[in-house]
Subunit: 385 residues, 2 copies
């Protein structure tokens, strides 16, 4: 196990009617800005429940946060915050809303000339407004971590700060019942690949982290397809297991004390940037390629993954690994996401464009060993044709 520091102070309220905890979690003298996305929370009743829980508070609202939240939208919240002495932000939505609120929280306390520098120049966040979150889409883990990704034009940039970790998060699996199949499948696949990025590297004898990662992967493999099947898609237990898995997939716990990869994400980001492909669907295309091309470096973990997560047994180690990769692809297909560039109508002529973008963004040493250079990324993409 590698040395680590781990700190996750977000208070989780999980289950039915936990949304009423908002009333206690936010100080009653706080002036709250309720921030959400495109209005789906008004259709599914979550908005009304939030409003009911805020009846003792002074609050205003700000909506219109997009998937891949845009700087131009987020920055419009700042005069509202300033003019109304807002001192608490309540994010209601999926990972994009929570990510966007994190940027707003940091920008509201930013003392330099241009809050964009938090992203563009990676200036340290030294203060931020407190945040609470009501999660409606299990996927990114943003509800209990310090990560945020914000888009401005062609730039999709990330920052991370302990100061923007939500103070509390409400996770009610019932809120996920109104999601589309595409949102559900994207969320499950996103969480799955978050786990793989922290698991499928090299062995450091971190047994607890490995067992936890395998347990989360197995849960998503079992429950993900049930959340799409007509006979079980309304099953709250299925939704609960997915929701808790997605939070724990990226709250810092399974990644503490182990190497991490994140090459799949970095390559995937360029597919989203160039072609607008949903984030999770870029990951399901890229991950199998990473597993194949980096097989030698990831050999011990690929074997462990195939045996422990998929119960593969076969005559040779190579065969065990091949079956583990094949089962991963079958799982992604069962979740309705693409596993090849051809599934999203891209071909060999696109590969160089993607690699060019990686080069522009300085992504020349990806992976847990920093050995995924541009040529290796190209090989990964060609493997994914």
């Amino acid at each position: 196990m590698l040395d680590f520091s781990f700190h996750n102070p977000t208070k989780i309220h999980f289950g039915t009617d936990q949304i009423t905890q908002i009333a206690q979690e936010i100080p009653t003298d706080a002036k709250v800005l309720l921030i959400y996305g495109g209005g789906s929370i008004k259709k599914n009743g979550v908005y009304d429940q939030v409003v009911a829980s805020l009846k003792a508070h002074q609050w205003l609202e700000f909506s219109g946060i997009e998937p891949n939240p845009s700087y131009d939208t987020l920055i419009k919240a700042l005069p509202i915050i300033q003019d109304n002495n807002i001192d608490y932000l309540l994010a209601v939505g999926g990972g994009s809303v929570v990510d966007g609120v994190k940027f707003i929280a940091a920008a509201a306390h930013y003392e330099g000339d241009d809050a964009w520098n938090i992203l563009a120049k990676q200036e340290s966040v030294t203060s931020a407004l407190p945040i609470g979150a009501v999660l409606t889409l299990p996927a990114t883990g943003s509800e209990s971590n310090g990560n945020s990704v914000v888009t401005r034009g062609d730039n999709k940039l990330a920052f991370s700060s302990a100061l923007v970790k939500p103070q509390f998060a409400v996770l009610d699996p019932a809120f996920t019942l109104s999601l589309s199949e595409r949102q559900v499948s994207n969320g499950v696949v996103d969480a799955f690949v978050h786990i793989m990025e922290q698991y499928l590297t090299y062995d450091v004898n971190a047994k607890v982290q490995d067992r936890f990662a395998e347990g989360l992967l197995q849960t998503l493999i079992e429950e993900g397809p049930k959340a799409l099947a007509s006979e079980s898609k309304e099953d709250l237990e299925v939704r609960a297991n997915i929701m808790w898995s997605a939070t724990l997939a990226l709250n810092g716990l399974i990644g503490a004390g182990v190497p991490q990869d994140w090459a799949t994400h970095m390559i995937g980001h360029e597919l989203t940037g160039l072609y607008g492909i949903d984030h999770a669907r870029t990951l399901s295309i890229v991950l199998p390629g990473v597993m194949k091309v980096k097989q030698a470096q990831k050999r011990d973990k690929l074997l462990q993954y195939a045996k422990r997560v998929w119960q593969v047994s076969a005559a040779t180690d190579d065969e065990i690994i091949a079956q583990g990769i094949a089962k991963t692809e079958e799982f992604f297909k069962a979740m309705g996401v693409p596993v090849r560039l051809s599934d999203v109508e891209l071909d060999a002529s696109d590969v160089d464009k993607i690699v060019d973008k990686l080069e522009q963004h300085g992504m020349k040493a990806l992976g847990e060993h920093g050995d995924i250079d541009l040529a290796t990324s190209k090989q990964i993409l060609l493997t994914a044709l």
Copy 2:
């Protein structure tokens, strides 16, 4: 999964030289009381490292906290705190020291007549001094939970408060190398039974919690005996896996959203109270009896446990369960702890005395169903002869 709230704000610093983090974690203007036990930290060098990390702080020390920390000892820290305006407590030791420091932290801010009421009358803790912990014995999980057990004469009483959760905990596996075999085995068995109390109940389809519990159990089963074997007892990786398992065994995570039992602990406490048997060694005697006597109520989980933790396969479910229980006892024996009352020279004539104590302490409805009455506890103890 049951509804739950989960909050664990303790910052964990794990690994080599993490003890230097103390300097940053405790405010430099704090007046610190360093609290420890019987002086083993002076022999193994931990004391010197703590002192080196406190060189920028004002600090005093208070020592002599016993295993099963006594009220009479703990209360002596209060005038030192008051006379010197101490405002931060640093616990250095095992679970007993950390438990004791939690009581001191609450008692120092107690405004009533008698701080013993925090335990005797279960008066709510409304304020406490902040606590940091340097752990030297992985076992109780006290370094990142709000639980404390304090002894006064014949009374061994517990309290729990979020306000006494340590703000940070330093976990350096090297600090555990100087423990005796008995301390190591007790620690592993204590952590193992903590997990079982939160796992071996009835199924609520909480897949993540079950997989995490199984992962921790498997890790302790693999690593525990290695920490006793001459060829591997100095292996820091083994110690690291045990240390992280013991913390996660009782930090609230695997117990969130699932039923809990704790009958083994309640019955075991009487064995410690009456006969002075080490806490962990009471658990290894009582747990197999609970597994056997409550087999019908715990059937689904006993099967899951035997199959997933021990990979048992057999012709019938009864046989699978029997093998799972037998393997648990074999593991305890391999860890050098007793599994029968006769192993600690008790016999049938002691059983009524133990049951009388349970009755005196109101322990008439134990277990996850509250159906372990005094007659059932007697049956469990007779099964453990």
